[in-house]
Amino acid sequence: MTAVSVLQVRRWVRRSQAAHKERGETLGNFYFALLFVAIVGGMVHRQIAAVVWPGHPTAAPLAGVSFAVALAGALYLLLRRAGPLALSRPASSWLLTAPVSRRSLLLPSLGVAVLVAAVAGAVGALGIMGHVMVHPVAELPLLGALGAIVVLFVALAAQAGQWWTELSDNAAYLLIAAGLAGLVVNSAADLHWSFDARSWVVPAIGALALIAAAGLAYSVRTLARTPNDRILEAATTAGTLADAAFGVEPSFVTDMIERRYWARRKLRSKRLWARLPVLTAQDLLLLRRRPRRLLWLLGGVALPALFSSAPAWVLAIAVLIGGLVAGGVTTANVRTDTGNPWMLRMIGLSSREAVLQRSCVPMILAGFWSAAALTMLNLLGTLPAGPWWLLGLALGPVGGVAAVRKARTGFVDNGLMPLDTPMGSFAIGPLIAAFAGVDVLLLGVPSIVLIGQGGPLSWNGVLVQAAVAALAVRAYLAGTTATDRVELTSH
């Protein structure tokens, strides 16, 4: 069979599309994109520069290495989630099934992936260099870029479906965990460890360049063999990401990830615990089926220690946000009920009873997580003496209710009036959605004060936090649910 040139087909598609557009429309879009980048860059370039390149490097080398390890793991997972070889949805529907050369069809995607990985690696290396090295090594960003490209080629091979694909994903999670652990150790212990990058950076660049070149040659040769289903999956991901960005609706992506996760799992029906309220029992079943999330929560207990040297209120906010994340492990059920109350109508419970039953597991998780995190900070000497574990438990309802509120937000309301500012107008719907749940964390203010004071924790302080949390749960249930309504939202 003769293959048609992809270039010709793509040129024809572009010409046909251009025929439907106004003259100069593409150029106009390009101009506006450039203008947008210039304006945003002009507004925040100082902040970006301060993050990537602080004037005086203060981080220890262990922090730099740990960050690099975690970054490599995160980059690998991001590349795997995105494909890394992806096509647009129209191309996956029409060109993937057409008699065109698959290698030429996929080559531009490979180019984009290499470019993205290289830029990410270079910026990461630049940031680490700026934070760690007193005497910068000019070649380090190149090393970062090459390292990222090697990571990309591993992800590319994994996309083609190897026996080690799942293992490599797990290894990437381990890299992230190891990197975070290194960061925690670095901030908790005062390590004096130094290394000189100058001695090994050039040989390392040489070695990585060789591996990257070999990887590129192998990838281009085997590009056409990437299975169709993997490319279609990546095309769906790309399309969903575009939808989410265009509609400012991040839940599209969360739903897709959730759907894919369960589609891969093989489940066996279990009995719901008969002694517990039915929706709480369902949440516990969901929790049991996400053991990895529990493991992450357990590991995450150490993360607030990263802020040991930050102001105490930052530390307190980190613990509160951690509680919100911990409480969110089972709130996918609340999100489902918010999106479509069909099952709630089938069940026939009032919204108050449903939300109360659904809040139990989030509150317990948030409580235990906060207690563990505060105890850890106490043991590390960051927090003075006192019953910190009890304060953590008292924070449970705050984190739990915040997580439930976040899950009940539903879709972003893009119909709200935009807010006019001197720098232009922006939509407030996404802003409200982003802060839903986080606002409830304000009820943890007593804890912020208690941690911020820096003195030993008193029992009275715990009592105040517990009272505020209990009142908050009561007010939340009374204000947002009803005994005579099944649906979670009132219309």
Binding site: L272, L286, N333, V486
Partner: protein, 214 residues
């Protein structure tokens, strides 16, 4: 004691300038089965949505068991419907969905016959599957299984025969007939007269419900 399950008087609904229901009257006596028939777009689903309180009519009165339909737990404990497309909980199998519905209504899943219901609907081989992974026909069977498993006094079903194979239609019709024989009321819309008759419902044309010409 209410004598009627559903009472609709002078119901009017328009979509924009297009009237769909004009002065519609309908009575479903307690324990009766009524099947509304008619071509696509004549307003069957709109009528069922209004009766299920999922859509607000422009004017007219609706009573379900002597009271206005609403979103109260009491209403939804008495009424089970398939008028809306179902949603499924993440990471919950078919059997667990059925058990959840039974337990929420205070029923023991074994006494309620969850396994038998899945078997009768041809889903016993899919008890451990998550609903989104099943075909549209299987999802329709599961929806009907859930509706029939839970206690209710009125079923409001929109084309329950949709997406079912002939064997599935016969099973569902027999189960609806059993529900009807047990004293339950049924209001449904269907395009399959044979199915509706087998389910023990009496047919009524949508056009006959309009007291004024549309």
């Amino acid at each position: 004691m209410d004598r009627t399950a559903v009472e609709v008087r002078s119901l009017t609904v328009s979509y924009g300038s297009t009237p769909v229901l004009v002065e519609v009257d309908l009575t479903v006596p307690l324990g009766a089965g009524v099947c509304i028939t008619g071509e696509n777009g004549i307003g069957k689903s709109t009528l069922l949505r209004c009766i299920s309180s999922l859509q607000r009519p422009d004017s007219g009165e609706i009573e379900v068991f002597g009271g206005p339909p609403g979103s109260t737990p009491e209403f939804w404990r008495a009424v089970a419907t398939t008028v809306e497309p179902p949603t499924w909980y993440p990471g919950l199998t078919c059997r667990e969905h059925a058990e959840l519905v039974c337990r929420a209504h205070g029923l023991d899943p074994d006494d309620a016959g969850v396994d038998e219901a899945l078997e009768r609907f041809g889903l016993s081989g899919h008890a451990d599957a998550i609903p989104p992974s099943m075909s549209s026909g299987q999802k329709q069977r599961l929806t009907l299984a859930l509706v029939l498993l839970r206690p209710s006094r009125l079923l409001i079903l929109d084309e329950p025969e949709q997406r079912l194979d002939p064997e599935g239609r016969a099973t569902v019709a027999a189960m609806l007939a059993g529900y009807h024989a047990g004293g339950g009321s049924i209001l449904m819309a269907s395009h399959d007269d044979t199915f509706a008759t087998a389910a023990g419902t009496s047919l009524i044309g949508m056009a006959e419900l309009h007291t004024l010409p549309a």
